[in-house]
């Protein structure tokens, strides 16, 4: 850290309680956050970075989303690396790195737990709101995306046929991918007439369920210089969390409207410069809303934008998911962000399948984790060919 910008701890707060039978663990997180802000003389709105750890196993995968939702945070950076009890020391270091990189200016770190008054002593009795206020009513990944589709259709007149165009384009690409789970091209009619699973979403509006995985290596300039292999440059990155906002949720938007501009600003380019787009496609509606929010078309015009083969490689205006995407090819571990980056790298290296190879200097890989209907994380990466 020699010669790097200095970073400081401005607030610290230890909760006075030692036994809290009348509070929830989530509430304790909020109370310590309030205490640290008061100690520093900062306001809640000043917080733009968040770190925590220690969620029970069944919530761990969604930690930053659940906590930002509960605490009402609007952050441009979050971290939840969990090294057990030492996590919060690590978070200080990670927060300092993020601040030096300009990802955030005020990073909040919270810890809370109730092993003393929790039902099983030593256990981490920890209840978020999801069970009681969502699963009680039949909340599933499906229904939480279906309500987003329903509202978008209501507000903007988006049709099921327009959503189907997204699946049609993906299936057109998948036919050339020998590893794709579904390789047969489908028509708009096939999608619209597939069986309803959570109206207005039907079976072919949904991604596949597959086993598998993927990996990436990110290296320094010094390492790259030693390699024979074509590399892809990481030009920009942006993240944002969308949540219920205490009951003011807007189901027609995703947090891509914040992560996109952050990533494009980082890269010094705009949506018009993008030659190829990997867009998270858990459902057709996920793609449609993301295209709007990243600025490829106006809000509400995603439906007409995707008509007429816009997304189909190699000739469409914005070729997307040329491996067949999550809709037709692969969604390993129910987490599609990895394959989004991998196909963008293939495109920039000129290693996509011949029939769908695009002349691409700049690509994006965009991920949407969680659910549009409650809380989700939007992450946008801008990638470029090294010799562009």
């Amino acid at each position: 850290m020699v010669d790097s910008e200095p970073v400081f701890i401005a607030g610290a707060y230890e909760h006075p309680t030692r036994e809290a039978p009348d509070k929830s663990t989530m509430q304790l997180h909020a109370e310590v956050a309030r205490g640290a802000l008061a100690d520093a003389g900062l306001a809640k709105d000043d917080v733009d970075g968040y770190f925590t750890a220690g969620m029970p196993w069944y919530e761990r995968g969604l930690t930053p989303l659940i906590m930002a939702d509960y605490l009402g945070l609007d952050v441009s950076h979050a971290g939840t690396t969990d090294w057990g009890g030492s996590s919060y020391v690590g978070h200080v270091g990670h927060a300092a790195d993020a601040i030096r990189e300009g990802r955030c200016d005020v990073a909040l770190i919270t810890l809370a737990g109730r092993p003393r008054s929790g039902k099983n002593a030593g256990g981490d009795e920890f209840h978020t709101y999801q069970d009681a206020f969502e699963v009680t009513y039949g909340a599933t990944t499906l229904s939480k995306y279906a309500v987003a589709a329903q509202r978008h259709m209501h507000e903007y007149g988006t049709t099921r046929e327009q959503l189907a165009e997204i699946r049609v384009a993906a299936s057109h690409h998948a036919q050339y991918n020998e590893h794709a789970l579904f390789r047969d091209p489908v028509t708009v009619e096939d999608v619209v007439e597939s069986r309803p699973v959570a109206d207005p979403l039907h079976l072919l509006d949904c991604c596949v369920v597959t086993d598998g995985g993927g990996a990436l290596l990110v290296v320094s300039e010094d390492v790259r210089a030693e390699l024979e292999r074509d590399c892809v440059e990481v030009l920009g990155y942006g993240e944002a969390i969308g949540h219920r906002e205490g009951g003011r949720i807007d189901l027609t938007h995703t947090a891509a409207r914040e992560s996109g501009p952050r990533a494009f600003e980082d890269a010094g380019i705009g949506p018009d410069d993008v030659d190829y787009a990997s867009i998270y496609d858990s459902f057709t509606i996920t793609v449609l809303q993301t295209l709007e929010d990243l600025g490829f078309c106006e809000k509400g015009e995603g439906g007409s934008f995707v008509e007429g083969g816009t997304l189909q490689a190699p000739d469409g205006d914005l070729p997307f998911n040329t491996d067949g995407g999550g809709l037709c090819s692969n969604h390993p571990g129910n987490r599609g962000g990895m394959t989004k980056v991998i196909e963008a790298v293939r495109q920039l290296r000129g290693e996509a399948n011949d029939e769908v190879q695009v002349d691409a200097d700049v690509a994006i890989a965009h991920g949407t984790g969680g659910s549009l209907g409650t809380r989700h994380g939007s992450i946008t990466a801008v990638l470029g060919r090294e010799d562009r």
Partner: protein, 138 residues
């Protein structure tokens, strides 16, 4: 019959949310209101999600309109007799959009914008009921 699924399973109640569920058992839908910034919100977190002030409880009228919905045709953990089930967001008269079920009418009759009113379905526990919404009387 409002809801074929009765009694409903008892939801997870925490010290923070207990007043919400017991009010429901009493036939009242509680929201939170912030004494500092005035935000009326749901779910009922103890601290205001906008400003971290200690929030107060307020009784909502139970009147709402459907903001969006989805229809479950199959759902593993739902009784077959109560399918299709309507998973919905309704917007309370007081403002917050709330996840719930719309019951008491065929799923095909539910529309975005329709007026609904709160009803309370018993659980196996006397002091906990589950709020749902039914089409409002014209």
């Amino acid at each position: 019959m409002i809801d074929a699924w009765e009694p409903r399973p008892v939801p997870t109640v925490t010290p923070e949310t207990e007043p919400f569920w017991s009010a429901a058992a009493d036939g009242r839908f509680l929201v939170r209101e912030c004494p500092d910034c005035g935000l009326v919100y749901h779910y009922p977190s103890a601290l205001c999600p906008d400003c971290f002030a200690d929030a107060e409880w307020r009784e909502a009228t139970g009147a709402a309109t459907v903001y969006s919905f989805a229809i479950h045709r199959h759902l593993e953990f739902w009784p077959d007799d109560d399918l299709p089930a309507v998973f919905a967001y309704v917007e309370l008269e007081e403002g917050p959009r709330v996840i719930t079920n719309v019951v008491g009418c065929p799923a095909e009759d539910v529309e975005v914008g329709m007026a609904v009113d709160a009803r309370f379905v018993p659980t196996a526990t006397d002091d906990v009921a589950v709020p749902v919404f039914v089409p409002a009387d014209d």
